[in-house]
Amino acid sequence: MNARNITAYGGGILFGFGLAYSGMTRSEIVLSFLRLDDLGLIFVMGGAAVVTFVAINVVPKFMKAPALGGTFRPRVSVLTRNTLIGAAIFGTGWGISGLCPGSAVASLGTGNWPIIAGLTFMFLGAYLRGRFIRDGN
C-alpha cells in the first residue's frame, strides 16, 4: 500500500461512515426524498459540497501542492450532450431504485445484501456504455 492508497482508504472510511450516518445507504430514504416527502438529502449533498468547496477553493491559497504530491485541479469538465443525456438516464434509474454508485457500495457494509443485484447491474450498465457508445464527444 502506497501513501495514495492509504489516503484513499482513510478518506473512504469517512465517506462511507457519512453515507451510512445520513441514511443514504437506505434506498427507502433516498426514494422518500425523490417523492419529496423528506428533503434531508439536500443537506447531505449540500453539506458535503460546502466542506469540499473549502478544500478545493480555499486550501490551495495556503498550500502550493497536495501534501503527498500531485497538483490541485478543480473538477471542471466541458458540457456535452452526453452529460445531460447520461444525467437524465441516471436520474431515471435513481428514481426507480433509490441507488447511486457511492451509496450502493457503502450499503454493502451495512449488511444490505440485496444491493449486490443493483451493483451487478451498475457494472453491466457501465460496460454497455463502454461497449456501444463512442468516446470523445
Binding site: F15, V50, F53, G91, I96, S97, V105, R131
Partner: protein
C-alpha cells in the same frame, strides 16, 4: 418536509465532505464514485474504452476507496447505528433495472451524485450544475410516476 430532522443529514454530509477533502488536500485526487465501475472493468475488458491509460492509472486507488466506503459503513453499523444491520425492502427488479440505468447513465454523464453533486458543485462547475439539475429532475419525476402507478 423533514420527518427525521435535518441533523443526521447535515452531519453525515459534513463527514462525507471531510473524507473527500482529506483525499484532495493530501493527493489532489477527486474522490468520486461512478468512475470506479469503469476503472474496475479495465481488469476484465480489453475494449479500448476501459484500457484507457487514465483508467488503468486510477483503478487501484478507486478500488481501495470503495473498500474504505464499505469499511466506514461497517464501522457505523457496529457503533452508532440504532438498528444495527439494514436490509432493503425495495423490490429486486427495481434494484436491477435502476442499477442498469445508473451504471450506464453516470458513465455517459461522467459523474454521479458525488462526481457532479459534491466535487463538481464544490469546483463551481456549471457543467456539473446542469447535470445535477437534470438527474434531480428525472429522479423526482420517476419516483412520482412510480408512486402514481401504485408501484411500491
Amino acid at each position: 418536509m423533514f420527518p427525521l430532522g435535518i441533523e443526521p443529514y447535515l452531519i453525515g454530509g459534513i463527514i462525507i465532505g471531510l473524507g473527500v477533502s482529506i483525499i484532495y488536500i493530501l493527493t489532489g485526487l477527486h474522490a468520486t464514485q461512478s468512475s470506479f465501475f469503469t476503472t474496475t472493468l479495465s481488469w476484465f475488458s480489453k475494449l479500448p474504452h476501459f484500457q484507457d491509460k487514465r483508467n488503468i492509472g486510477e483503478r487501484d486507488w478507486r478500488l481501495v476507496l470503495c473498500l474504505g466506503l464499505i469499511s466506514g459503513a461497517v464501522l457505523y453499523t457496529f457503533t452508532l447505528s440504532p438498528s444495527g444491520m439494514f436490509v432493503t425492502g425495495v423490490d429486486p427488479w427495481r434494484l436491477a433495472l435502476g442499477g442498469l440505468l445508473v451504471g450506464f447513465g453516470t458513465r455517459l454523464s461522467n459523474g454521479c451524485t458525488s462526481g457532479h453533486g459534491i466535487s463538481g458543485l464544490a469546483s463551481l462547475s456549471t457543467t456539473s450544475l446542469y447535470a445535477v439539475i437534470t438527474f434531480l429532475g428525472f429522479g423526482i419525476i420517476t419516483a412520482h410516476l412510480l408512486e402514481f402507478m401504485g408501484v411500491s
